[in-house]
């Protein structure tokens, strides 16, 4: 299990590659990997978006991410899980979040990946501020899952 906050752009596929390279003991044990990548869009609520800043609550963020992932690991008997989340200044098409869940079977991997994303969006203390043509605005709520 690995949970990271990143203040610079990251490459989800390269991170997965690197993480899987450390999973030697798990090779052949998992049959299912469910992965989600959230990416910054250049359009939101009908308006073009030029950039975004992701603020968070240091300490509380890590604590809640860890609890969410530990809950998922226990609930679905995951073999491994990975969460990487950006903070700081983002540009359109930059990755925001990567969630991956490794499990023996697909139902658990899918459900756990989804759970981690929904819990993260509901509880992890991150806030998005978008830069649009009209100026800067805080995103007031997440889209429903």
């Amino acid at each position: 299990m690995n949970i990271e906050l990143r203040d610079a752009p990251f490459e989800p596929l390269a991170e997965l590659e690197r993480h899987q390279a450390s999973q030697d003991a798990l090779r052949g044990r998992y049959g299912a990997t469910a992965i989600f990548v959230g990416t910054m869009r250049d359009f939101n609520d009908g308006e073009p978006v030029r950039g975004m800043t992701l603020e968070h609550y240091p300490g509380m963020t890590e604590r809640h991410l860890r609890r969410i992932v530990e809950t998922a690991i226990q609930e679905w008997s995951l073999l491994d899980a990975l969460v990487i989340h950006r903070v700081g200044a983002l540009r359109p098409s930059d990755p925001i979040v990567l969630v991956a869940a490794w499990s023996a079977h697909r139902a658990a991997a899918f459900a756990a990946c989804r759970f981690i994303m929904e819990e993260l969006k509901a509880k992890a203390p991150f806030w998005k501020r978008e830069d649009a043509a009209a100026g800067t605005r805080w995103v007031e709520r997440n889209t429903p899952g």
């Binding site: 959230g38 992701l54 603020e55 968070h56 609550y57 300490g59 509380m60 604590r63 809640h64 989340h85 925001i96 979040v97 994303m117 993260l120 969006k121 509901a122 509880k123 992890a124 203390p125 991150f126 806030w127 998005k128 501020r129 805080w138 995103v139 007031e140 709520r141 997440n142």
Partner: protein, 77 residues
């Protein structure tokens, strides 16, 4: 000892400050922390609170040394 209070995101921008300190009084709740610091400003609707980095209700008691945070709905992921 005192309570450290933090504000995040749009709430911090609206208040124009990121932190406050407050001496705790006996039986002080999260809601009372806000009122003591912002007597003229009702807590904006949908504001969330945390005590020592755990989500807290307005009625939760706080004590000296606690870290209390107020912030808008979270929008990560």
């Amino acid at each position: 000892m005192s309570i450290q209070v933090k504000y995040f995101a749009s709430l911090r921008d609206r208040l124009g400050r990121a932190e406050d300190r407050l001496a705790a009084t006996e039986g002080m709740t999260v809601a009372a922390v806000w009122t003591a610091l912002w007597p003229e400003t009702p807590l904006p609707p949908n504001t969330l609170a945390a005590v020592n980095m755990e989500y807290a209700s307005p009625g939760q008691l706080v004590r000296d040394g606690d870290e209390v945070a107020f912030f808008p709905p979270v929008t990560g992921g």
